[in-house]
Amino acid sequence: MADQETLLNLADDEVAVVAFLSGHDGHLAQDTGDPAVYWLTVRPCSVPPEIYYVRLAWTAYPHSPPSIKFADSPGGTLTVTRAWPLIPGYRATSFDICKPLSAEGYGLHPEWQRGPDAWPTTGNPFLWVVEMIQFDLDNSYTGRAS
């Protein structure tokens, strides 16, 4: 379970995330069992009916990146290949995003923890992550994984 500092920081920053997602026909929900876990509902602007559900699980916000997984529904299963969009770096068969954006990516590439790929801890990293996911959906999306 995340500490109180993390929960307070997330509460401060989630307001901007809600505003951003509502402008992109998306939605943010907090997990009922773990307040450091959020569920995004997002969609690519090129194919609005294609809805994706993303679980962001924070451990120490804003100090560490979140685990990012796609699920088959809010609160649903995290190991469904078809829950993932086809986007470079989004690995549907490994259920991870191999970019300096997610805990999984930084785990695979420890060298990203320093230099220009280092996790950003200033400003609103929560919004930054969500913007990056939406950007990828809007600009690099080629379909749903099968």
């Binding site: 602007c45 970019k99 790929d117 400003g123 609103n124 990293p125 913007e131 950007f135 600009n139």
Partner: protein
């Protein structure tokens, strides 16, 4: 007697207010008033200077408007259409993975 100058061929230049947001910067948004002919790439560079970031080997910063990547060679006037302001977002586009 009051003399009014005849309307001439000079048309007043209408500036466009641009704002660029970047959520992980401790600084506030980059703001400027620019001519419609200003290139998106010019705004991008000015915003990157404001936010103190630069492109890397495996990532580049791009401006988005309404979610879409805006080409550097597009003009702010083209992006704005008939509006007098444009909100951009600076996004780090990561090409590695």
């Amino acid at each position: 007697m009051t003399v009014h100058a005849a309307p001439g061929p000079v048309q007043e230049m209408q500036l466009i207010s641009v704002q660029v947001s970047f959520p992980v910067s401790p600084k506030g948004p980059y703001r400027a008033d620019v001519t419609p002919a200003t290139l998106v790439g010019t705004v991008r560079q000015a915003a990157m200077t404001h936010f103190e970031v630069s492109d890397g080997a495996q990532f580049t910063y791009v401006l988005t408007h309404d979610g879409r990547r805006q080409p550097n060679d597009e003009t702010v006037g083209q992006v704005a259409g008939d509006k007098h302001s444009v909100d951009f977002r600076l996004v780090k586009e990561i090409t590695q993975g």
